[in-house]
């Protein structure tokens, strides 16, 4: 965990209710699947947001407007400064991956999979990626993912783009040796139902601190309780109690 001030170099709407925020600042040691916790003027609790991309000195966050805090985030202007706690959470365990991993994302849950995908590719592993959305207007980062991997499947619930259906329908049809997934809880449950291999889930929970101090996010697992912010947000398929 580190606390630092970041400069917002850009913040723009990239899909329906989805904003891409680019931040300048220290990025040493930031892992895929980790998150940052953002202080916002006028709010007491920080807001946890996953790392969507990370390059030297430059962080990308993808934010879906859901409530008041994310609304405020969408309105942050270029050249503002933000107080972030970074390096939070365990991140995805890339060492568990095989040669044929599958990434399954739903909605804003596709965000952390992008940095993961990039890191896997840089290790010579080319994952297959399934991204599920409600409809075409919500799709983001399609081009960015496609630049990393040709094995990209876009799924929309209403069929307005790509395959009609749920990400898990596409998952059921795919062949893979390991998987990583992030998305809304109902999707994660569905993933657990259709998955035929082991995998890792990135979970969400309401957080007090985001760095392990308050036990506000502590959930029961098969191997005792784990703090989503510290021993998570990534849990393995074998330990989650659905």
């Amino acid at each position: 965990m580190k606390q630092a001030i970041y400069k917002v170099t850009s913040n723009k709407r990239i899909a329906e209710n989805i904003y891409e925020m680019i931040l300048e600042g220290n990025t040493t040691g930031i892992l895929p699947g980790q998150f940052v916790n953002i202080k916002l003027d006028g709010f007491f609790l920080r807001r946890p947001i996953s790392i969507a991309d990370c390059e030297e000195g430059c962080l990308t966050l993808l934010v879906k407007v859901l409530g008041e805090g994310t609304q405020a985030m969408s309105e942050i202007t270029e050249d503002s400064y933000l107080d972030l706690l970074t390096g939070l959470g365990n991140g995805f365990d890339l060492s568990k991956s095989t040669r044929k991993p599958l990434l399954v994302g739903g909605g804003i849950g596709c965000a952390p999979l992008f940095y993961l995908c990039k890191q896997l590719c840089s290790r010579g592993i080319e994952p297959a990626v399934i991204l599920g959305f409600n409809h075409a207007g919500e799709i983001y980062y399609e081009e960015e993912f496609r630049r990393l991997t040709p094995q990209l499947t876009i799924v929309t619930a209403d069929g307005s783009r790509g395959i009609r259906g749920f990400a898990t329908d596409a998952m059921a049809a795919a062949s893979y040796e390991y998987f990583y997934t992030c998305g809304p809880e109902p999707m994660l449950r569905a993933v657990a139902n259709v998955a035929v291999t082991e995998g890792q889930y990135s979970l969400e929970e309401r957080m007090g601190c985001g760095f392990g101090a308050c036990m506000g996010c502590s959930c029961k697992t098969k191997y005792g309780s784990k703090r989503i912010c510290k021993e998570g947000p990534v849990l393995e398929s074998g330990e989650i109690i659905w």
Partner: protein, 308 residues
Amino acid sequence: MVNTKVNLCGITLDNPVIPASGTFGYGYEFAEFYDINILGTFSFKGTTKEARYGNPLPRIAECTAGMINSVGLQNPGVEAVIKEELPKLKACFHKPVMANVSGFSLEEYTEVCAALDKEPQIGWHEVNISCPNVSKGGMSFGTTEEAAAAVTRAVKAVTKKPVIIKLSPNVTDIASIAAACEEAGADGISLINTLLGMRIDLKTRKPVIANKMGGFSGRAIFPLALRMVYQVRQAVKIPIVGIGGVARARDVIEMMLAGATAVQVGAENLVNPFVCKEIIETLPTEMRKWGIEDLSEIIGGAHECQKM
């Protein structure tokens, strides 16, 4: 050089700044962020006899200038605290620590306190008779003079170290409960614990917190905490630890003027993990600003009769 030292129940603190129970774990998590030996001391996570998972999720809700928690005393149990947490703490904290103790019966309080009393690392017992999160627990002890006094007497009978009773603010008359604890032998009073609060999610139309209600704390509650510290100062002679909404050095001074000998910082640690370090570092400047040479001299300074 200004003097920030205060004496809390016979033990001298380098400064009156104490992270509050439940917001500082067992200390070593924060030791990764800064040298926690700069603290006056800290109060560790509320400890019970057996390990507890605590309340269902979600346990956290956002409020204006504060938050609600419903952790429900998650802790590994007193034995594990002694065997695992305290040794880990020893590596990074070299001052007496404050042991925060909770219980669901007089026996539990006495067993936990008796076990912790033997540990040389422990300086004070802080007995939480007030946690509003646990349905059968603390609440009942903290809301009547009789029950509060009973816990005090029971714990005092099995301990040698100073016993500080931590009061609930969810009562009509906190001063008389404090007086009952003093009468029963308490060495100090700490207050306030969280206020019972609630938020409702407009989307689901259900309470945000799985347990419906939870403990409200943070900057918003400062004027309530300050008032209660002031009232308790008029009712007892033993030292008071002021808690509730403290976030800056000037809040520490205000709490001490109201009657606190030392001050705890709770929820603010969660949103600014460096807040206690910042308070300790800015305290001398703030003292000079208000013409304070020796911090211990201002304790209770806002009362008409300053010498208590």
